[in-house]
Symmetry: C2
Subunit: 404 residues, 2 copies
């Protein structure tokens, strides 16, 4: 090289990548999980305490949970991005704005929990999905997915290791990159005595089917279709409210059979797993076409909400009947678990034998952020967290990357 | 937790984050550096061999260099993104397409170099800048920057640690996030006997000023304005060619003084460092307005190229005179170093005392990718690589994150 007469190294930067799996598993670990779903209504944050490194050794404790609403400007930018209307500059801005916002939320969360930042081992962040198009949805061409939040910015702002971008590795080798919560279900919601199905009703709904005493390769998990997305959307468009509190609006209306049959023709529900979807398929644009159809056919607004709730419940139940076991113990989570009318319809559509349990994960909104804290725990320890036959890949992958 | 009766850990995933600084610095390390500039014409790949961990201990050897052209579809998508015309889906696709393409290039590069992938310690990738708006360019609001390529996808495809996203941490704490090559210059192009200025003429031009025998805090480095971007753009628009080979077109034309004075009124040139710019400021849109002005004033096409070349040389020289030292030894790199007419003008505008040297880095295109391989080496070892008074932050930061 030219003139390499003087050299330099800076000594004031500690080596922050000092984690190794032996050290990592030598103690309890505290991780924050940050989840933002396709509903784009806010951020769920869980603080989890984890231990264990091997079969039958993991423990998980939910220490604290809190939700934060997005500021209006941030919500607007997310909506724009999800609708494929954000441009380069807006995507770049959103990627950083989420980091600035999450850093603020984490600090506020920890203050409230009276938990010092220094005691935190890592932050696991799902990021805001603004696009998800795995190979299977891309006519066999290379897949791609985008969960926004700058991991570099977040780790720099918090000075804590940040684990994120959990879906990309799986998508890069042809997988669905979803669902990812099944590894949590398999470890913490499994039973030796009976089959278990976990249902998470977020913007999109998904299930994990855990046959009793089954192996990892027996786990079946997939998205079933819409969760709250169309119900929330209809409430916003028709009633100016963000969601149908306790399902009270839907309860008041009548089921419109013509509309329900029309909705049932959606091909996603009958598609065999592995499958995943998002707000690209169950979009506000499509919802507006449904509402237009209803207006043209004089279907009342309240009946639209009722029928969309029926469709949502039916699509979950139909998937359970086709691809799982309607006579399993059921554990429901996600914001949709607070829609009592939806739960009632779900039970009816499943036509479950009354000897089986129908439980709610408490608090229902905490499950996904808690699960991603666990995925972060696994990544920090270098343990695989995808389930190959769930995401449809050959490789076991320790999902996510660690920013430090 | 509910039913946590069975537990699982997957054993077939090696712990890939085993790097620690002591181990890292115990041997020579081979890193690939991948650079894509704002010209979006292709990818430069360098293979570097590095050692050392302390002042006066670093060594760097350029083992191999090769450039790859972008496929037309990829180039089109990049252009769209840089022009702020890409939408969410296109950004998500580009992020992954770059990973698929880079993985292919790296494999082809290593085959040609007869260097086994297994011997490679890491890949350092700059990523395609599609937006760069640090705090200083955002009227004091939070800054943001976006270098596209999915680090997760790339590490999954190559099964090698991938270091990337070098600019975000610095931008997140209010810095310019640029320029980042000065740490390379300070280590390998420094002299005890005389001042040195390195000039890199890529799409944008930047300089590093290394006062003789200076400390790190004496380094001055910043973008000077356009490099090849407007010359290349004018060649494309006016002559249907990608660039002005050896500066032959510019050499044929006449300098138009009215146009030159108009161009000189650009406020960026006179702005005091730290400063950075990109194709947001020196855009094709602005170039088209310049060309429109020229057409209205009957300035001939060839004279436009000549005058843009003058402006480019002048803006670099003017920055050197104002903020550095015109009587330093000069080392030019980047594709622009092959524009002989530009170099000739540069010498004239600097009006350098003939006792000083004017060298070309060989090969000139390799410098930035080689420098980013070095930045990757520093990140793997946990050593800081920003220069606080260059990027305008208080903290020393080990730039980049490591995806494994």
């Amino acid at each position: 090289m030219l003139n390499n007469k003087q050299w330099l190294v800076l000594n004031n930067c500690e080596f922050r990548l000092k984690v190794n799996s032996k050290e990592w598993f030598s103690d309890f670990r505290y991780l924050i999980g940050i989840m933002t779903g396709t509903s784009a209504d806010g951020v769920d944050i869980s603080l989890g305490k984890f231990s264990g490194s091997k079969l039958q050794e993991f423990t998980a404790e939910l220490v604290e949970f809190q939700s934060f609403e997005f500021q209006a400007s941030l919500k607007k930018l997310i909506e724009l991005a999800i609708k494929n209307e954000a441009r380069t500059r807006e995507i770049a801005k959103l990627n950083f704005d989420l980091a600035y916002f999450f850093a603020k939320c984490v600090r506020s969360f920890l203050r409230k929990a009276k938990f010092p930042l220094k005691k935190l081992d890592a932050v696991a962040v799902h990021g805001q999905t603004v696009w998800h198009q795995p190979k299977s949805n891309n006519l066999g061409k290379n897949g791609f997915t985008l969960q926004l939040v700058s991991l570099s910015a977040l780790t720099q702002l918090l000075k804590v290791p940040v684990v994120g971008d959990f879906r990309s590795k799986d998508v890069a080798v042809g997988g669905e990159g979803a669902p990812l919560v099944p590894i949590f279900d398999y470890n913490f919601l499994f039973s030796r005595k009976c089959d278990v199905i976990t249902i998470n009703i977020g913007g999109i709904a998904n299930i994990t089917y855990l046959p009793k005493d089954g192996k990892l390769s027996d786990v079946v998990a997939f998205d079933t279709g819409p969760g709250n997305t169309w119900i929330d959307g209809a409430m916003r468009i028709l009633f100016g409210r963000n969601y149908d509190k306790d399902g009270e609006t839907a309860k008041k209306g009548k089921l419109n059979k013509i509309l329900l049959e029309k909705l049932k023709s959606n091909p996603f529900v009958a598609k065999a797993p592995p499958k995943s979807t998002g707000r690209e398929e169950f979009s506000e644009k499509e919802l507006r076409q449904i509402i237009k159809f209803c207006n043209e056919n004089s279907i009342e607004d309240v009946d639209i909400v009722t029928t969309l709730t029926h469709f949502t419940a039916w699509s979950i139940a139909e998937n359970i009947k086709r691809f799982a076991n309607p006579n399993a113990n059921i554990i429901v989570s996600g914001g949709g678990a607070r829609n009592l009318f939806l739960l009632q319809l779900l039970k009816e559509y499943i036509q479950q034998n009354s000897s089986f349990e129908f439980k709610i994960f408490e608090p229902p909104e905490a499950k996904e952020s808690f699960a991603f804290a666990f995925l972060g725990y696994l990544r920090m320890g270098g343990i695989a967290s995808n389930i190959p036959n769930v995401t449809g890949v050959r490789e076991s992958i320790s999902l996510g990357i660690i920013a430090t």
